[in-house]
Amino acid sequence: MSRREGSLEDPQADSSISPLPHLESKIQQTHSLARLLTKYAEQLLQEYVQHQGDPFGLPGFSPPRLPVADLSAPAPGHAGLPVPERLRLDEAALAALPPLLDVVRRRQAELNPRALRLLRRLEDAARQARALGAAVEAVLAALGAETRGPRPEPNAIAAATVTAGVFPAKVLGLRVCGLYREWVSRTEADLGQLAPGGPA
């Protein structure tokens, strides 16, 4: 366990050890999935902004980065953490995102019931975050790293993010979509550290 962790902390140093083919394949697949979802997350964010009306999406509009229950943006020091730790944080964030995305989708269903593409993207995003989280968890398990502890109840997360007004709800939705993009992108980068041919 510790040997593997050590090797993940410094993938370059581990180049003499041949990883198992199925692990390589799993990492590769998960990395590809993360890359694809990064693109989708960007599209979701753009689509979301498009449907909230001005001044959302206008240059200079920067609403406060509201705190979101059980989820924060990747810390500035994230990249300096050991890779398994990073992946554990990624996986925890990906597990926290689906209920938040569900809350956003429900609110958008009331505000933009005819924006079917946005609603579908939000629904897909929740499912895709779950899938990527599971894939990262599987990679962690294959690496022999510990996975995270008990997950918070989705309902508790959703309840904690209920906002009173429509405007705060729009801002929260923007924040959640932004967090989704950041964490998926972060996961892609972290998996890139492990993927064959990835940066050292």
Partner: protein, 872 residues
């Protein structure tokens, strides 16, 4: 004003009358001094009596009277006040007196200062007209606020039980805003006092959210008692009550998520401890209106319809943003085109068009309720987001034994409501479902039974169904079937007058009686009717073989409507008085048979057979009826066919047969034949095999007792073309002034039409010089001869010059055009007589000139000799 009369409490002091009667001057002076003294005394007495009696009332039952105390009266001076009001009443009191309201009219009141010997008694005349009616200050019972609607609710008691009469009351209410108490509303509110204490309510909706600033409310009143004749005045203002907002941590901008009518004005404020830097609606920045503290507001006028997610209003502070969303839209339009009908008399479906878009969606979208007044039942429209131009629908379960329904469709959204009504007899509004499960069953080869399923409870009404019958290459036919509606939804109808062995396509639609709407057409059901025996024998013809020994019998396949099934085989028999020859079971598609026969009269019989049976026989005699009077005629067609006519022949009893073939084919020549009825005198022969420029032979036969006689023989073209070759021609003879030309006939295949003549051109010309020139009849140096006698095969060209080269051209033409040309060059022979004449004429002229000259010379010499003789 009160009339005041004064009298002295003590007796007046008399002057010394004795001294008054002193000297007048002194008297006047004395009188003046005395008068001044008396006036001073009077004024002094006035000052020493109670004065300026004033009475007011605040309940019309008690008058509160007060007066100015005499000068010098100490504090706590007591008075005795007496007045007449039916009885004499006196009160002892200090400064003012509350007396019961006096009856209308003047009342004398005396006020006697007690214990003050220097004061005088005052008498006043008091009338109700001199009394002021000033109501008590109203008391606000409660001031509350509905912050969600920015509405203030005021509650107060009119204390009507105090007042003896019914009176009109005017309440004046003022609303003030902010700490500097700007009056934002001053309004009057009318009520009536009815002898009881009554609680009154007044509500006011602020144009600015109540959270934005403190609001204060005060009230006063004016009671207009019709029986009180005194002066009526406003009460004093009540103490102000206020409403203010206790800021919470979350909401900073007000109003939150307000739904507004498009075109409205709205004030939005931000309640904050931080300095607001800017405010914007959508992308437009708005000027700030400063309120108490750091609170600010913006005024939005004539707001436009919002997009789906609303219009954002955002206030920016240094490191944060606060916002709200406004939903500007319209109240629901009156539901349009409300229509209720039923598919099955079990359920009513009502549809409508929402009309003008409200621009409100989600929870703010229009909700619809369909209410039926006779039953009291209603259904609600489940919110779905439909495109704005799409119609809405609601289902209402039909009630047993109820046919008349009175529907009210109510539309409601946060901005208002509207409704549309419809009274409908549902049995007259049946739009049946599409018939399904179409099945076909045979009755016979010409009749079937159609069955179908039509869901619905139609037991009490009649159905009209329409059956569409389609047959290949035929016009579709509609048949109506009326039937009694049934409960189990299965219906049957017989369809007759069909053709055997024919593919039919059936489909069905139904309506109810009275008619409302047709159902949609059912799916098509294809069905092949069963076979029947062929209705006719085949169309038959016969030809003798070229050697005349065999009779070739031809017949045509039966058309489908006569075959009545699949033709399997044919039977052919030839019968004479002596014998019968038969050829059986000639399989289809063979349509020709050859039988060796002598030249006796035979009757040929052809029968077609299908799986059900045999057709009636077609009969034709083997021998033709001779016709000696036969001429060959010509005919030209119309491109795609040729019209043949003949005279009516009463002897023709069966029919006419026109047979045709290509004229270049060898015998027996038969391309096809056509039968036409015996009463016809013309027919157009058309065939895909006809080609333009090809000569065909047509033979018209008339039928008598199964025997045929050739009536006309016609050669013809469906279309004539120009000849493809020029006639071959040769020069038979030439002379010095003529050429004899001879040509050959053009073969029929190359002629391609009836020959109408030849054109012959000639001109002088050498082979080398004129070979490139085109001979055209328009040129003056070209001579043309049109030979229209097509039997002519030679031509002599006369009046030519001898020993001259001529260019000759010949071409043939038909009505289809001019054929190609063929040419040659011919040189005429030399002319000998002309040569001789050409030699002789100059010789003769020379001789004549010589003779004449000789004569003249001789005559001259004779004349000169005679002249000399004379001179001499």
């Amino acid at each position: 004003m009160m009339d005041i009369s004064l009298c002295l409490k003590r007796p007046s002091r008399m002057g010394d009358s004795k001294r008054m009667r002193m000297t007048s001057n002194f008297q006047w002076l004395l009188l003046t001094v005395l008068l001044l003294y008396l006036m001073n005394q009077v004024n002094s007495q006035k000052r020493r009596t109670p004065r300026d009696l004033k009475c007011i009332t605040n309940n019309l039952q008690v008058w509160d009277c007060s007066w100015r105390a005499p000068s010098g009266a100490g504090h706590g001076a007591a008075y005795e006040v007496c007045f007449e009001n039916g009885s004499h009443s006196c009160y002892r009191l200090e400064k003012n007196v509350k007396i019961p309201a006096l009856l209308p009219g003047d009342h004398e009141i005396t006020i006697n200062p007690l214990h003050d010997f220097g004061s005088f008694i005052s008498k006043f005349t008091l009338n109700e007209k001199n009394v002021s009616f000033i109501p008590d200050v109203p008391e606000i019972l409660d001031l509350s606020a509905d912050f969600s609607t920015s509405t203030l609710h005021l509650k107060w008691n009119d204390k009507g039980s105090v007042f003896p009469h019914h009176s009109d009351v005017i309440w004046e209410i003022k609303v003030l805003r902010k700490k500097n108490m700007e009056i934002v509303k001053l309004v009057t509110h009318n009520t009536t006092l009815n002898g009881r204490d009554t609680i009154h309510h007044w509500s006011w909706t602020s144009d600015m959210p109540l959270e934005c600033a403190t609001h204060y409310v005060g009230i006063r009143c004016y009671i207009d008692d019709p029986q009180f004749s005194g002066r009526k005045e406003w009460s004093d203002w009540s103490p102000l009550k206020n409403i203010s907002w206790s800021p919470d941590s979350q909401t900073k901008v007000f109003p939150q998520d307000r739904v507004l009518l498009v075109g409205s004005d709205i004030t939005v404020c931000c309640v904050t401890q931080e300095e607001v830097l800017s405010a914007q609606i959508g992308s437009t920045y708005c000027p700030l209106i400063h309120l108490d503290g750091k609170n600010v507001a913006i005024k939005i006028r004539n707001i436009s319809a919002s997009e789906s997610s609303g219009t954002n209003v955002v206030f920016s502070v240094e490191d944060n943003m606060f916002g709200t969303v406004i939903f500007a839209g319209y109240p629901p339009d009156i539901p349009q085109k409300l229509n209720c009908e039923t598919y099955d008399l079990k359920e009513i479906i009502c549809t409508w068009n929402p009309g003008r878009p409200t621009f409100l969606v989600g929870p703010r979208n229009t909700s619809y309720t369909l209410f039926e007044s006779f039953s009291g039942k209603y259904v609600r429209f489940k919110r779905v987001e439909l495109p704005t131009n799409e119609s809405y629908q609601l289902f209402f379960q039909m009630l047993p034994n109820q046919e008349i329904y009175n529907f009210t469709l109510n539309a409601r959204n946060p901005l208002g409501q509207s409704e549309s009504t419809l009274l409908v007899n549902i049995t007259e509004k049946v739009h049946p479902h599409i018939p399904t499960s179409i099945k076909v069953k045979d009755i016979s080869s010409t009749a079937v039974t159609l069955s179908w399923h039509l869901p619905g409870s139609f037991a009490k009404i009649k159905l009209l169904c329409q059956i569409e019958i389609n047959k290949t290459n035929s016009v579709h036919e509609l048949r109506n079937v009326t039937m009694k509606g049934i409960e189990n939804s299965s219906y049957l109808a017989a369809v007759d007058k069909l053709n055997p062995y024919t593919i039919y396509t059936f489909r069905i639609r139904c309506c109810t009686d009275p008619f409302w709407k047709w159902s949609k057409w059912s799916n098509e059901k294809q069905y092949l009717t069963t076979e029947a025996i062929p209705s006719k024998g085949p169309d038959t013809w016969r030809e003798w073989s070229s050697d005349g020994k065999n009779l070739i019998i031809y017949w045509k396949p039966l058309p489908i409507n006569e075959a009545n099934g699949k033709i399997l085989s044919y039977n052919v028999s030839c019968s004479s008085d002596e014998e019968t020859q038969s050829l059986s079971e000639i399989p289809d598609p063979q349509h020709k048979a050859e039988i060796q026969l002598d030249k006796s009269d035979y009757i040929i019989s052809v029968v077609a057979k299908n799986s059900v049976g045999s057709s009636p026989p077609s009969k034709i005699a083997s021998m033709e009826i001779p016709n000696d009077d036969l001429k060959i005629e010509q005919a030209v067609g119309m491109g795609n066919g040729i019209l043949l006519t003949w005279n009516y022949d009463p002897n023709v009893t069966c029919d006419y047969v026109i047979k045709w073939c290509n004229s270049s084919r060898s015998e027996p020549c038969l391309m096809d034949w056509k039968k036409v009825p015996s009463n016809s005198t013309e027919t157009v022969i058309e065939s895909d095999q006809f080609r333009p420029g090809v000569r065909y032979n047509f033979f018209v036969y008339g039928c008598r007792n199964q025997g045929y006689q050739l009536l006309r023989s016609i050669i013809g073209y469906v279309e004539e073309l120009a000849p493809v070759v020029a006639p071959n021609f040769t020069v038979e003879d030439t002379s010095a002034d003529s050429i004899l030309v001879k040509w050959e006939e053009i073969p029929v295949e190359e002629l391609r039409g009836f020959l109408r003549g030849y054109l012959f051109y000639f001109e002088k010309g050498e082979r080398d010089t004129s070979k490139m020139r085109v001979l055209e009849s328009g040129r003056s140096d070209i001579k043309v001869k049109n030979i229209t006698d097509i039997s002519q095969k030679t031509l002599r060209i006369a009046d030519l010059q001898g020993k001259t080269s001529y260019h000759l051209v010949l071409r043939a033409y038909t009505d289809g055009g001019m054929g190609p040309e063929k040419s040659m060059f011919v040189v005429t022979k030399e002319n000998s007589v002309a040569l001789i004449i050409a030699i002789l004429i100059p010789v003769a002229v020379a001789v004549i000139v010589g003779v004449v000259t000789s004569i003249l010379c001789y005559r001259k010499r004779e004349w000169e000799t005679a002249l000399l003789k004379h001179w001499k």
